[in-house]
Amino acid sequence: MNISRRRFLRLLSGAGVTISAHDWLFPRLEAYANERLAYGDLRGPGFTSFSRSVCRDCPNHCSLAMRKVDELPVGLRGTPWHPASLGALCVAGQSQMQALFDPDRLERPLQRPDAGAAAQAVEWDEGIQVLDERLRGLLSSGEGEKIAVVDGRTPSLGTRLLESWVRSIPGARYIPLRIEHALDRLVRQFLGGGAGGRLRFDLARAGTLLLVGSEILEHDGSPVTQMRTHGDRRENPLLSHAPTLYLGARQSPTAVQADYWIPCQPGREHEILLALAEALSKEHPQRDSILPEYARWISDALDPVGFARRYSLESVARRNRLDVEELEAAVRALRRFHPAVTLPGPGILRRPNGFSDAFAGLALNLWTDGFREEGGLSWGRDPLTDLTQELGLGPPGEADPASLSNILDPLFEIQRSPVDVLICVEANLVHELPGQDQIARALSHIPFVASFSTHEDETSRLSHVTVPTLIDLESWDLPSAAWGSPEASLQVQRPALVPVVEGRAVEDVVLGLASAGVAGPGFSPGAENWKDTVKAAVELIVERREGDLVDADGRRTLESASASAAVRSLVSGRSVWVAPSEPGARAEESEAGAEAVGGRGVRPERPPRLTDLAPNQLWLIPFDTPAVQRGRVLNRPMMMEISGMTHGLAWESWVEIHPVDARPRRIVTGDRVKIRGPRAEISTRAIVTRGVTPSVVAAPVGFGHEAFGSVAAGRGANPLKLPFAVLDKRTGAPAWGPVPVFLLKA
């Protein structure tokens, strides 16, 4: 056969096309085929997949695995790779799905002409525009100090971004609303430690463990880890006979687990602690040098002798209705089982004089060096510190504990606001701070309030613009705690599913504002949008993994030499104690009480005496429990059912009272009771139990939402209505305090 040129060329070109196709087309076809056929076969009906994210309800930041069947999320589980949780997950973490699919979630920003008015939903850009204008105005006029941002979230790269954005604006205030910060700061002041670091108590190394207002098994730091270490401690043959003592007015689950519960009248913990310290210090070399420090600071019994008399076991036991044998037993235990350590927890700061208790608690540690030497006390350096710098977010600043009260106090006294713009980021001030109505009134005096929140909560109702935020399962972030811990692991929070609500992360809003020029000079984030920022951060960490994650020098051992110096530094400076006015006080009286917060009429710090109680009056002690989390998780039906479970309650709040107080009032478990405090009256169910000390009414904090979704709203009562709005100036802790109340059957 003969081939014509034309035909030859055709063949040639055909061959060329085929060859080129072989390189370019076939791989794609193959890939497509794989995608379509092979992979398609693989994921038949019922195909189960897991996508991971991080729960940030508590600082433990357990990592979650969302189980999906046919791409449909069907539940959350812990991941066994997480160093702290090892596959476990607490109640709140498991209920996140319900928050995710809550029909009441905000989808678009809400705007109000003025606080308290009816809100109308606006477009995203509109909502942010309002914020933009406000801030821009203040920036242009150089009044940065009129901006304040309250951040209620657990620490993460996101909070750091927000922080550095705020700090970049000269004078603007960034206020983290977290009690752990206060405690860390206090401890740091006393025991030293790196800035932005976090102190960790390794229970597994403690001999005697004396818990003061510290619910380690519930919500101090990381419940999951603490529970584990506690359990292991019980198994540890060396420590299996070492006791755990719990000092407090209520037998919390932690106290239930403790071997010994020393019930004491609320606000008198420090007395008992000092008594123990006194008893222990008998043979201590530094006794004479240190005791005067206490004496001076406690501001009575100036001479060591008087101190010794006042804080002898006998007198303290008498004042607290305890057997002296009990205290002696405690002393014996502290002497015998070394190393002994005292844990002053956040709970102890929830009081106007909580500082003194915490201080006294720490004071005991002076005699417990062994614990430190064994590495039981360690200082976790927070890698975010360096990381944020490398990301161009600048160094983290030290939050001023008094700043929030500095803002609120003037509002209580003279209704003139020190700030023009208050931005609350997932911080429901009205619900979580004591003196609800006071706070609400205070907010109403601020010219412009903006709130970032998933639901329309009490604070958003009083804010001019409310911006929706994302649930942890939908958003990007880099939580700090987990990989700040010595047993480190890189953990990235990322969307576990397509966002249920089309929304924006807080950080994206911030970056948007920044890129629009609403930011200080120093602020230069790596990327335009939040997702890329997180990714950049992750890359950085992976680069410097060794340097960061195994922080050898991060741990600091503490020098007892610095102790007395620390005492001195603590003693100088003044904190606030407002004496609760007489019950049934009229409005103006309570105003007067509130004014005291501003600094006028301040009394020397002193725990409330039992004589402060009028006849048949009781101490109300609001307590914080992880199944309620100050109301932050109550928009999930599961939490509503589980929170009161051990008392056989669901969808309800309660108060715990002792039979001694219940009998004369003819109250039995399940009755409705009224609690009348100096400021307000609440009604809830009573649980008669011997798990509290006599003359105490213990109430969980967080119920009684007025907004925050249909599930949470109007269930139970909020005990924080009763106390005055007191924010401890030294610790910045909202002082729930023991409040004298009347209890009667409804």
Binding site: V74, G75, G87, V91, R228, Q251, V256, P263, P694
Partner: protein
């Protein structure tokens, strides 16, 4: 590759649990896990008022008064899968029965809702669907497909997550081996932060559950009734200083 076995060829076991009261802090994580895993519907506040909250596992609180104080203990209470189960004796339609490996099963599709088993259970762990189950509208679609949804008028209770056991048995059968202990764990055990729950085969002397059962601290709830519960509690060590 061993040859495939049929379900009946697998070694029969007696699955049981040990609850260490020294570790249990009553945090309720097990309750939450159970609710999610087994599609237990939500309750309305009104139902809660009447005491109709559906729970397969709950955290009970016991107080023994000691003068002014009480020694409080918190412990998870769930179906005890009794070796000699009173509920299975009285069921008129064979809806609750002793299933594979001594698990007490419940056939929702057959239960006529006479609630005799609830009355007969000395541990009050069975619950009844008083009305149509309810979920958040969106969450209804996100229930666990491995566990059937129950409807109004039937009794239900903890099954030790028998669907997990079923899967473990299938895998084992395919691979031609017996079910290993690590293959199968109920959701509550898996999630417990304090590791207070140990799950295993009570017949196998080396399993955690069996050893716990032998320990001097171990006791069974209402042992005197002779129901032989498969769950053993480890009493708290008395270590008063």
């Amino acid at each position: 590759m061993a040859k495939e076995l049929s379900g009946s060829e697998l070694k029969t076991r007696r699955w049981g649990m040990a609850v260490d009261l020294d570790r249990c802090t009553g945090c309720g994580a097990c309750v939450a896990a159970c609710k999610v895993e087994n599609n237990i519907p939500e309750s309305s506040p009104e139902e809660a008022q009447m005491g109709r909250v559906l729970r397969w596992i709950r955290v009970a609180r016991r107080e023994e008064p000691e003068g002014d104080r009480a020694s409080v203990s918190l412990y998870p209470a769930l179906c005890y899968h009794c070796g000699n189960a009173p509920c299975t004796l009285v069921c008129p339609v064979h809806a609750t029965y002793k299933g594979i490996d001594g698990l007490v099963g419940q056939i929702y599709a057959r239960c006529i809702g006479c609630r005799y088993c609830m009355a007969a259970c000395p541990y009050t762990v069975k619950v009844f669907n008083w009305s149509e189950p309810r979920w958040q509208p969106e969450l209804r679609a996100h229930t666990n497909p491995e566990v059937s949804l129950r409807y109004r008028g039937v009794v239900e209770k903890c099954t030790f997550c028998s669907h997990r056991l079923q899967r473990a048995r299938d895998d084992a059968a395919v691979e031609g081996r017996d079910v290993r202990e690590e293959d199968y764990q109920p959701a509550c055990v898996e999630v417990c932060p304090a590791k207070a729950l140990t799950f295993g085969d009570l017949d196998d002397d080396h399993s955690g559950a069996a050893t716990a059962r032998r320990s001097p601290r171990g006791y069974q709830l209402l042992e005197e009734l002779g129901t032989d519960p498969a769950i053993v509690y480890l009493n708290r060590r008395e270590r008063r200083v």
